[in-house]
């Protein structure tokens, strides 16, 4: 794992959106474009965008209970060979378990949710959550593969 200290304190890009699922596609397109600026492959850019989509979807569905008038701020930090993305939001803190998600068990329980966190953790090198003074932050880091 590379050192996250290579990222600057201030984000290179930042966007604040309302908590509306109709804006997810825009976030995906933006993330894909930003990741391509630091030479992630198209396939990797697509995966990183998917991880962000899942994180923002979780915020809208679970933290904001599908309310459409809340705010979500997404910050992008670029560094040579890597990207850090921080998602800030209020509402309910995330209910993130470290337990390995078993798809077969979820089928038996007829569950429809829970896959998003698995996708985020599978795609990104690091996924961390923290809450401070009522503001939640999901931070994700992805490094380029070295050949």
């Amino acid at each position: 794992m590379k050192n996250s200290a290579v990222f600057l304190q201030k984000p290179d890009f930042s966007i604040t959106i309302f908590s509306q699922t109709q804006l997810l596609k825009m976030v995906v397109e933006l993330t894909r474009h930003i990741t391509s600026l630091i030479n992630f492959s198209a396939a990797e850019a697509q995966k990183i965008s998917l991880a962000i989509d899942e994180a923002v979807t979780n915020v809208i569905k679970h933290s904001y209970d599908n309310a459409t008038d809340q705010q979500i701020t997404i910050e992008y930090f670029l560094a040579p060979g890597g990207i850090k993305i921080r998602i800030f939001y209020r509402g309910l803190p995330p209910d993130i378990s470290d337990e390995e998600i078993n798809v077969s068990k979820m089928i038996k329980k007829k569950k429809k949710g829970g896959l998003g966190v698995k996708l985020m953790k599978t795609i990104m090198d690091s996924v961390t959550y923290e809450t401070m003074d009522g503001v939640n932050c999901c931070e994700m880091i992805k490094w380029q593969k070295t050949i």
Binding site: K47, K112, L115
Partner: protein
Amino acid sequence: MKNFQIRSKIVNGVAVLYLKGHLDAHQVARFEKELIRLIKESNFNILINGQDLNYITSAGMGIIMGYIDEVREKGGDIKLCSLTERVYETFDLVGFTEIYDFVQNEQVALEKFSRISPKT
């Protein structure tokens, strides 16, 4: 133009769902509604053709996960065919490819369905 389109038809007793475009949490209710309609009409052999599907999130995959057991209990199955490499990879990331039947194309999938018949 809509970001996501869905249509279905019955082919040799198999309900084929054609998904097109970008399937995320914003669009997923339409997918679930159509799947529920097919199951309510006693279609338990369901094929999802993803030839024109270019993006899927866990919201869409979760719908399949939520109904697969019900369909299999009735002797049917939900199979997937003709997925693009990237969409297949998304299913693979969560381990779906070990649990669901992913078939190369619609014709092969229909032939596989013809070898099973739903419980009455």
